[in-house]
Symmetry: C2
Subunit: 344 residues, 2 copies
């Protein structure tokens, strides 16, 4: 392949957002593509994973991962195809998962392969977009958050917010497979109906149309044993009023709070943890990297035998569509895992 003909379009962080990230936060650039040196690989980005966590990466300050620097290519996970290689483990044509960033091509030097977590994916286990969903970061987050922190037992009631989102769909389906009663919380009739009819949740509460409190009362007659929280805010507070003794709350995200321009709303009902001897615990998926294969193997089998479905909201476009696509997440406009597909 003649690399000199390729143009690498990129989206860089131009400024840190206040509230919802608008177009002013981004800058489009274009660079030449360079060939890999010994041990390195050059990949074409096929699909980018758009995740709520990206909002946090845009903020300044200490977190579980350093912020994206101003002027840097926006960080993003994704799937690529090797188009030039000086590394026998990654032959041309191989599909890989890694962190391409929001750009058409990404070069991974030999000494960065391990650090960036570049790994081949097996297309027989799932499609490119499924590898960004149930078999990707959201799936891993849901799997280890639920199993390791939530520790659900058959017969228990599991509630998950963002139920139609990437993490939520994995959590709910997995909890069903493990024998739990599963109640989702999602926004809008279409999502709620899909979660129940297609994914097999026992119920789904539409927080946009009606009271979450009443919904929990109705659909969780035995209380809540495990709550997987993707949203924070009022919904977390409402769930806290209905947890059982020794309940486990997995703090995975707080999408309702990410674009606040005022302080985060803390859970004013947190003393329910005391009354119920319950636990609230955070999870960061990267901690489980050594165990990803365990989860992938198990969930690929569920995808194959039909016990699990994987729904992606795929936007086809170029990196230039990234700035307008990301906010869909924060407006609840995505239906399933949000993916920006750049190439096939």
């Amino acid at each position: 392949m003649d690399l000199s003909t390729l143009k690498n379009r990129q989206i860089r962080l131009a400024q840190r957002p206040v509230g919802l990230p608008g177009p002013e936060c981004w800058q489009a650039t274009e660079e030449a593509v360079t060939a890999p040196q010994e041990g390195g690989v050059l990949c074409q980005t096929l699909a980018l994973s758009l995740d709520p966590a990206m909002r946090g990466w845009m903020n300044e300050g200490k977190s579980y991962i350093p912020p994206v620097e101003i002027g840097a290519v926006m960080r993003a996970g994704g799937i690529g195809r090797v188009i030039a290689s000086e590394n026998a483990a990654f032959p041309v044509g191989a599909l890989v998962t890694g962190g391409p960033g929001v750009q058409d091509y990404f070069l991974v030097p030999g000494d960065q392969i391990k650090r960036t977590g570049l790994a081949r994916i097996d297309p027989r286990l799932g499609s490119v977009t499924q590898w960004l969903n149930v078999l990707g970061m959201p799936g891993m987050t849901g799997y280890f958050g639920l199993m390791d922190v939530g520790q659900p037992k058959a017969g228990e009631t599991v509630v998950v917010s963002g139920a139609a989102g990437a993490v939520g769909q994995t959590v709910g389906q997995l909890a069903k497979i493990k024998g739990c009663r599963v109640v989702g919380i999602a926004g809008g009739e279409a999502k709620c109906e899909w979660v129940v009819k297609e994914l097999g949740f026992d119920a789904c509460i539409d927080y946009k149309n009606g009271s979450v409190k009443d919904g929990l009362k109705q659909h969780c007659p035995d209380g809540i044993d495990v709550y997987f929280d993707n949203v924070g805010g009022e919904i977390l507070d409402t769930v806290l009023t209905r947890i059982n003794r020794k309940a486990r709350i997995i703090i995975c995200g707080a999408i309702s709070q990410y674009n606040n321009t005022t302080a985060v709303q803390g859970p004013k009902n947190y003393l329910s943890l005391l009354v119920n001897r319950a636990r609230m615990e955070g999870i960061v998926v990267f901690d489980y990297a050594p165990r990803y294969m365990e989860a992938i193997t198990e969930m690929a089998a569920y995808l194959k035998d039909g016990r699990m479905k994987s729904k992606e909201d795929v936007v086809r476009g170029t990196v230039a569509d990234f700035p307008a696509t990301l906010p869909k997440l924060f407006k609840g406009e995505n239906f399933g895992k949000l993916v920006l597909q750049l190439a096939d």
Copy 2:
């Protein structure tokens, strides 16, 4: 003993408080004393335990224990002496721990002995007031909260708020014995000095005089691994900004919030749990009743060999002094475990 000469003075809950419980919440009554039936015991109350948790018991609504009913004798733990007995396990003269309520005498029918947790105490292990402190509920709370939920490891940094209070002094001294760096948070110079000089904490931050944030920065150079929270509010929020990865936060109480007339202040920095993969977990001491002897045996040995001290703030008086004494807790006026001693 001629029981007919005895008058049982009582303090009953007259109305539920709004904010700090004032005199209007209480009603003084007097009753005759009746002799125990077969299996029962009659005790004289020697000392009452005054605890922050009492404020919660005065509220209506579901909690870890039913609320005190309007018109009922106020619930209180305490130490009594058997003065009439129809139960060989509790001979006249024996000292007992139980829940006398705020009254001079308490009768425990034979079929209520187990339910009320009436148990003899061994005066050789500690004084009556120590049996309400390190060897009593606060001590058990501190012991099991720290050891079971906090799981401190030698070399870790443990922070405890309400450090000069009943639970706090046990937690801090125990954590020192277990080889931790221990930093207290307390109100006022006298308490802070005592915590460091007498109890051997590494440091104590005076939240009434200076910044808790700066204090934590100075005294916890390696971050915070375990935080035992007795206060909630701003202090909890400040600690959350300095916790380490995999930190454990024990939610034991929230004395700063108990007399709020507005909503409880939720920890707005709770997403630090996510960033740090940390845990916040509630504890209710009653769950550990089957294991109390384990803690008592261990801590009585520390009292004996001088590694642990037990400081009580003993108010001598009658049950009529209860209404004016309880609020000391919420104003931070007690120095050590608050006890109302009625008799010797």
